[in-house]
């Protein structure tokens, strides 16, 4: 039984738990192998009470694990009840529906014991470098194409690693040493968290986390409820159509602000894709609740109390609630778009709060060469397989321009060109802002970027494309114009489809033009001085100044105030 805690102790302990999961996450980032984990922070780490309630989660680069990892712990406890767990046991899964949405994400859960009694669970998730199957391809038709599927199981029993499982992993993935290394990293980071937690409990003479967990969850729930209570109540709907894979996809949402919670339902959304852009509901929940929370209460830490305040539902067999055995590898293509749809609703409830639509879905470049993929040279071709993280423009904000070449809602970080070139035969000839790509508006959308890439070897190379906003651009808000569409092409001229494996012939260059973000507000209301600066900086073309913004510039690039007034008045 817990001893009573005074007010200051509750606050200190809460801070301490947040610091414990931060240490847990740092340990994972620094020891992980996959670029997604270490450069993009595509990991998560959290601590749970023995009822499976999340008490604290580290703030990491991806919102995709926010609710999904929290729910996965409940699935684990259903399969392995708390009273059956022993000190030294470790559990694992990559079940997309019980973990975090695709097979690449491994989730590991470790029960922690204080004086022989289980007191907490630490969970962590990382995106491994490979899981077999088709690899980083959006072209899978069923989850069976996508690699090794590990149901909820023991990774270790009382400290004894499950070598049979590790043997299966090694035999099924392309980078066995790295993937097994990442599994050990997950185990180690949970152990770090556990050690810190036990130190804390001994320092504060706590026998369990019951009272503390109760306080954290109820205060957070109350905090969210207070925020929501100040909002206008009602129901709003919005939809957004995007390219999809084989056909356009419409994402439709209805958002209800109720007394103490926000409900988001995706009825009206398109059905499943034949390809791997389907989202399990857990991933849909994660990006939806991230979008809601970033707009309404960014300062409240994530835990079961805050997650309960956003309720996400979607009809089964829609692309945002895909059941087994749908292919789900590239579920982020859809998931990253969901905050834009949520903001379509929130903009009606809370005008002048949320940004315009942005590129949203990442423009990561998965580049490769190898036998059977880009040619049939066997070992004669220098094989490589590398993913670098890149972003188009973000949407303009009510009072600020959109950020250029910046991810949202994902929080990834790029990989330096020099690093990519040091480990592959690739040469990046250009990586620059794409002039004119930001949607016009009182606040301009963020610019996309343009990259040109070639192979130094006299061989073809390929790109596993899974891009969006090639047909349907990011729309502006409140009179703002859409951002430029994205495009993939060869320097020799031919356009390439933006989904699926594309081949760049020897000697040619791949040209990637990433989309721009939508503008916010009437472009004719933009400060002419900012338009003149954008022209001087080469962010928009001189002709755009007049055509899109109604701003007339002198030969020296200064604003011609009289001519501008006339043009804008007309």
């Amino acid at each position: 039984m817990s001893r009573p805690l005074n007010e200051i102790e509750v606050q200190i302990l809460w801070n301490r738990l947040l610091s414990v999961v931060e240490e847990q996450a740092q340990t994972l980032v620094r020891t992980a192998f996959s670029t997604a984990a270490r450069e993009a922070g595509d990991i998560s780490a959290g601590v749970f009470d023995m009822r499976g309630r999340m008490l604290a989660q580290a703030v990491t680069g991806t919102p995709g694990h926010i609710n999904s990892m929290a729910r996965s712990v409940v699935h684990f406890l259903d399969a392995f009840p708390a009273e059956t767990l022993k000190d030294g046991d470790v559990l694992i899964t990559n079940d997309p529906w019980k973990g975090t949405g695709h097979l690449f994400d491994l989730t590991v859960v470790t029960p922690i014991f204080l004086d022989g009694v289980p007191v907490a669970l630490f969970a962590s998730t990382t995106h491994v470098v490979d899981i077999g199957g088709l690899g980083v391809s959006a072209e899978g038709r069923q989850v069976y194409h996508e690699g090794l599927y590990i149901p909820l199981m023991y990774l270790a029993r009382e400290g004894q690693m499950n070598d049979d499982l590790l043997g299966m992993v090694r035999a099924n993935v392309r980078e066995p040493v790295q993937v097994v290394g990442d599994i050990y990293a997950l185990v180690a980071c949970n152990a770090t968290g556990g050690r810190r937690l036990l130190e804390m409990m001994r320092d504060f003479r706590l026998a369990d986390l019951g009272l503390l967990g109760e306080e954290i969850i109820s205060r957070s729930r109350r905090g969210m409820a207070e925020v929501i209570a100040k909002l206008p109540q009602g129901t709003w709907s919005a939809s957004m159509t995007i390219d999809g894979f084989e056909a356009p996809v419409t994402l439709a949402a209805t958002l209800t602000i109720a007394a103490d919670r926000v409900l988001v339902d995706y009825a009206g959304t398109s059905g499943l894709s034949r390809y791997a852009i389907n989202c399990p509901i857990c991933y849909t929940e994660a990006y939806t609740s991230f979008g809601v929370k970033a707009a309404l209460a960014p300062w409240i830490p994530n835990n079961t109390g805050t997650l309960d305040a956003v309720v996400v539902t979607a009809p089964e067999n829609t692309i945002v609630n895909a059941p087994h055995p749908a292919a789900v590898y590239a579920r982020s293509v859809i998931g990253h778009m969901l905050p834009d749809v949520v903001y379509g609703c929130l903009d009606q409830a809370l005008p002048d709060t949320v940004p315009a639509e942005g590129t949203s879905s990442l423009w990561n470049l998965s580049l490769l060469a190898g036998h059977g993929l880009t040619g049939t040279e066997g070992s004669a071709v220098r094989a490589f397989n590398v993913t670098t993280f890149h972003s188009g423009g973000a949407g303009a904000r009510p009072r600020q321009d959109g950020l250029s070449a910046t991810p949202f809602p994902s929080g990834v970080r790029n990989v330096p060109v020099e690093i990519t070139e040091a480990i592959t035969p690739l040469v990046v000839w250009r990586k620059e802002l794409r002039a004119g790509s930001g949607g016009a508006g009182r606040q301009r959308g963020g610019l996309g970027q343009r990259m040109e890439i070639a192979n130094r070897d006299a061989a073809a190379f390929g790109i596993q494309a899974r891009f969006e906003r090639g047909v349907y651009p990011a729309r502006g808000r409140s009179g703002g114009a859409p951002g430029a569409k994205g495009r993939l092409s060869l320097a020799s001229g031919a356009a390439l489809p933006i989904k699926g494996l594309q081949i760049v012939p020897p000697g040619d260059r791949l040209v990637v033009e990433m989309p721009g973000g939508g503008g916010y507000g009437d472009p004719l209301a933009r400060d002419p001085a900012e338009v003149a600066r954008d022209v001087r900086y080469g962010l928009i073309a001189p002709e755009q100044a007049a055509a899109d913004y109604g701003v007339v510039l002198t030969a020296a690039g200064e604003v011609d105030a009289a001519a501008t007034a006339r043009r804008r008045g007309a």
């Binding site: 200190i12 620094r30 990834v412 330096p416 620059e432």
Partner: protein
């Protein structure tokens, strides 16, 4: 005659501190910094302190100087109009930075604008590959055009950063030759000289920051050197660097970016000396001032080093929100937590402290200068840890009722708590925040805080040190004499030194001893040329480091290497060193994975013996307390009668038990219940947890 007097000068934001060391004694002085011409306070202070001791400027062996001038120019954006010349297609690398959001949940986040605006980022058709091969020869005509534009635009400094220039610097050097026709060669910074390290954005950022402060530092250091000469000082002017080493003014003028954070580096060097004198093998330096706290780990009397630092982080001290520079630095974590940090209650009714500070204007509510928000100092006062009449040597009489009112209005009332409890909440939260930062910093370096001895300095540290030590599992705290002017004392102890870096990707599977030996020979030559300018005859000490990783990883770990040259077993030696370091950091190694070294550094410095360990003071009787005061004890949270002592009245070897407060002009040291404290032989107060 050989000169024996040595002068250290530290220019800070508010004060310019001077310390003059002559055989047998040292004395210090504090002047207000003269922001319009910082050298004025230095020269005036120098003249005054020399006069006080009665020696002439000609008696000075050298002057060691640290300054925040370069840092401030970067923070306040007051550097030169700077251009960037870069590879065609890459002028936006400086602006796109890491392509990330450093605030995951902030829809309104802004990135700091780059130091060079887009029209001044010029592109040159040229391209070097990762292996150094020239893929596209440089179009020299483009440089002539750029030179002309630079002249027209009134640009005063230029950074040249081409892709893979760390591997092949031919194009950068040729670019400088051509650009030197248009502006002085001294204000052209090459990335291959400033930061020859892989990762184009960070290298460009470092080179640009260097160029940005070049003209300013050139002018300032020139003026200071001339001024000292005019006074008759013949000894060299030496500059404190962020690495904790000192260098000649010539080197400082070329690479002024290496001078940022020299003040804190001086503090860390002082802590190093104290660790040596007191036989502290595992120390944690804790420097808490008015706005920030800084924490450095010191193992085996060596402050931890790093090669990455961020200048001018956005308001909330968020990682990734500043200007990254890759230079040798003493690795410290900085937190927005100081005496002036403001406390409030957030929407979840949690007390938060900082990172914003009330500064000195308006300052804490108790300063009576119009501040109404409660700060850490206000909380300290409510808890009766500070004597309102004796704060800062009595220069400011503190208004205790104002502090109480601020704490009640902003924290106690909203939470329905008693004023004492709210004040204790503020100090507990700020201490917890600092302790968390220290713990995460330690874990990032594969280290622990538990079992270390804390060395606490800076005005606010002695009040919060014991409680923080408790939270970190540390049983001993050392509060040095004159905890207020630590940095300048540290300068006097710093060795002449210089660190050189190179990037060469060397997979151990294809380790080539000749290549690596050649690399280190060249680095040694470059470092020695710099170090010999300041230490012509000294015995030198070399430290080699390789930044290594398993192939496929994105972070390297710093691996200390033995001196060379390396023979046929070099690969085995590197593997063993890497695995030992990796194991120490992460508790395991990964068999069967290929290992590679990416970046190499060589640090060369004067071999300067650390002071010997001081003898323990024989036990002495403590005097009777000078008074008693009711305080709130931080450990128990209960009210207690604390004994008051004047620091000057406590003889070495005396021991007193907490709760107690030891008073001195600049600060107060709080000894909580359960701790015992007293001066050691050198007068530093040692606070120890009483074994239970």
């Amino acid at each position: 005659m050989s000169s024996t007097a040595r002068l250290a000068v530290d220019i800070g934001g508010t004060f310019t501190d001077l310390v003059l060391a002559v055989p047998g004694r040292s004395l210090s002085a504090k002047l207000l910094t003269t922001h319009d011409a910082p050298e004025r306070a230095v020269l005036e202070g120098t003249a005054a302190i020399l006069a006080e001791v009665g020696i002439a400027a000609t008696d000075l062996a050298h002057v060691i100087h640290g300054t925040t001038l370069a840092t401030n120019a970067l923070i306040e954006r007051k550097g030169a109009a700077t251009a960037l010349v870069t590879t065609e297609g890459f002028r936006d690398s400086l602006e796109m930075a890491y392509e990330h959001r450093f605030e995951q949940y902030d829809l309104y986040m802004e990135r700091p604008a780059p130091l060079v605006p887009r029209p001044w980022r010029f592109e040159v058709p040229e391209r070097i590959a990762a292996d150094g091969e020239v893929l596209l020869p440089m179009e020299e005509a483009a440089l002539a055009r750029i030179g002309a534009a630079i002249r027209t635009e009134g640009i005063r400094a230029v950074a040249v950063c081409f892709l893979h220039a760390y591997q092949n610097d031919a194009h950068e050097r040729r670019a400088r030759e051509i650009l030197a026709r248009f502006l002085p060669e001294e204000v052209i910074a090459l990335s291959s000289e400033v930061c020859p390290e892989i990762r184009e954005y960070e290298r460009a950022s470092t080179t640009v920051a260097n160029a940005y402060v070049l003209p300013l530092m050139e002018r300032y250091l020139g003026g200071l050197e001339d001024g000292l000469r005019a006074m008759g000082c013949a000894g060299p002017l030496l500059l404190m660097m962020s690495s904790g080493g000192i260098t000649t003014v010539g080197t400082a003028r070329r690479f002024p970016i290496r001078l940022v954070e020299s003040g804190p580096a001086g503090g860390a060097i002082l802590a190093q000396i104290l660790a040596a004198e007191n036989g502290i093998g595992r120390a944690l330096a804790f420097d808490m001032g008015g706005t920030t706290a800084k924490i450095t780990l010191i193992d085996d009397m060596k402050p931890q080093q790093a090669r990455h630092f961020e200048i001018a982080r956005a308001a909330r001290f968020v990682k990734g929100s500043g200007i990254p520079v890759r230079i040798p630095v003493i690795d410290m974590v900085e937190i927005g937590a100081g005496g002036g940090s403001i406390a409030r209650v957030d929407g979840l009714k949690r007390i938060t402290v900082g990172p914003d500070s009330a500064g000195s204007m308006p300052g804490p509510a108790c300063y009576g200068r119009g501040g109404t928000l409660p700060t850490v100092t206000d909380a300290d006062l409510v808890l009766a840890w500070i004597d309102p009449a004796r704060f800062a040597g009595g220069q400011i009489t503190l208004d205790a009722p104002a502090a109480g009112a601020a704490v009640v209005a902003a924290v106690a009332a909203p939470l329905g708590m008693a004023p004492d409890a709210a004040a204790l909440g503020i100090t507990e939260i700020v201490t917890e925040t600092m302790a968390s930062a220290a713990r995460v910093h330690a874990v990032e370096n594969g280290k622990e805080t538990a079992g270390r001895t804390m060395i606490a300095f800076g005005g606010a540290a002695p009040l919060h040190a014991a409680r923080m030590a408790q939270k970190l599992g540390m049983d001993r705290v050392l509060v040095p004499v004159g905890a207020g002017v630590g940095s300048a004392h540290g300068f006097l102890a710093a060795p002449i030194g210089y660190e050189v870096v190179r990037t060469r990707l060397v997979p151990l599977a294809s380790f080539d001893a000749a290549l690596v030996n050649g690399l280190f020979d060249a680095m040694r030559g470059e470092a020695e040329a710099v170090v010999r300018l300041g230490a012509p005859g000294a015995v030198l000490r070399e430290e080699r480091t390789a930044f290594m990783r398993y192939r496929g990883q994105g972070h390297e770990v710093a691996v200390a290497l033995p001196d060379g040259p390396y023979g046929g077993n070099g690969a085995a030696m590197l593997k063993a060193a890497f695995e030992a370091t990796y194991h120490a950091l992460y508790g395991r190694t990964i068999p069967k994975l290929e290992i590679e070294a990416l970046t190499w550094t060589l640090a060369l410095s004067e071999a300067r013996p650390l002071p010997a360990r001081l003898a323990d003071a024989p036990p002495a009787a403590a005097p009777a307390p000078s008074g008693r005061r009711r305080i709130i004890d931080p450990g128990t949270g209960e009210a207690a009668e604390a004994a008051l002592y004047d620091r000057a009245a406590l003889p070495p070897g005396a021991r007193i038990d907490g709760p107690a407060v030891i008073l001195e002009a600049e600060t107060s040291t709080l000894v909580p219940a359960g701790f015992r404290a007293g001066p050691n032989a050198a007068g530093h107060i040692l606070i120890e947890r009483i074994a239970t």
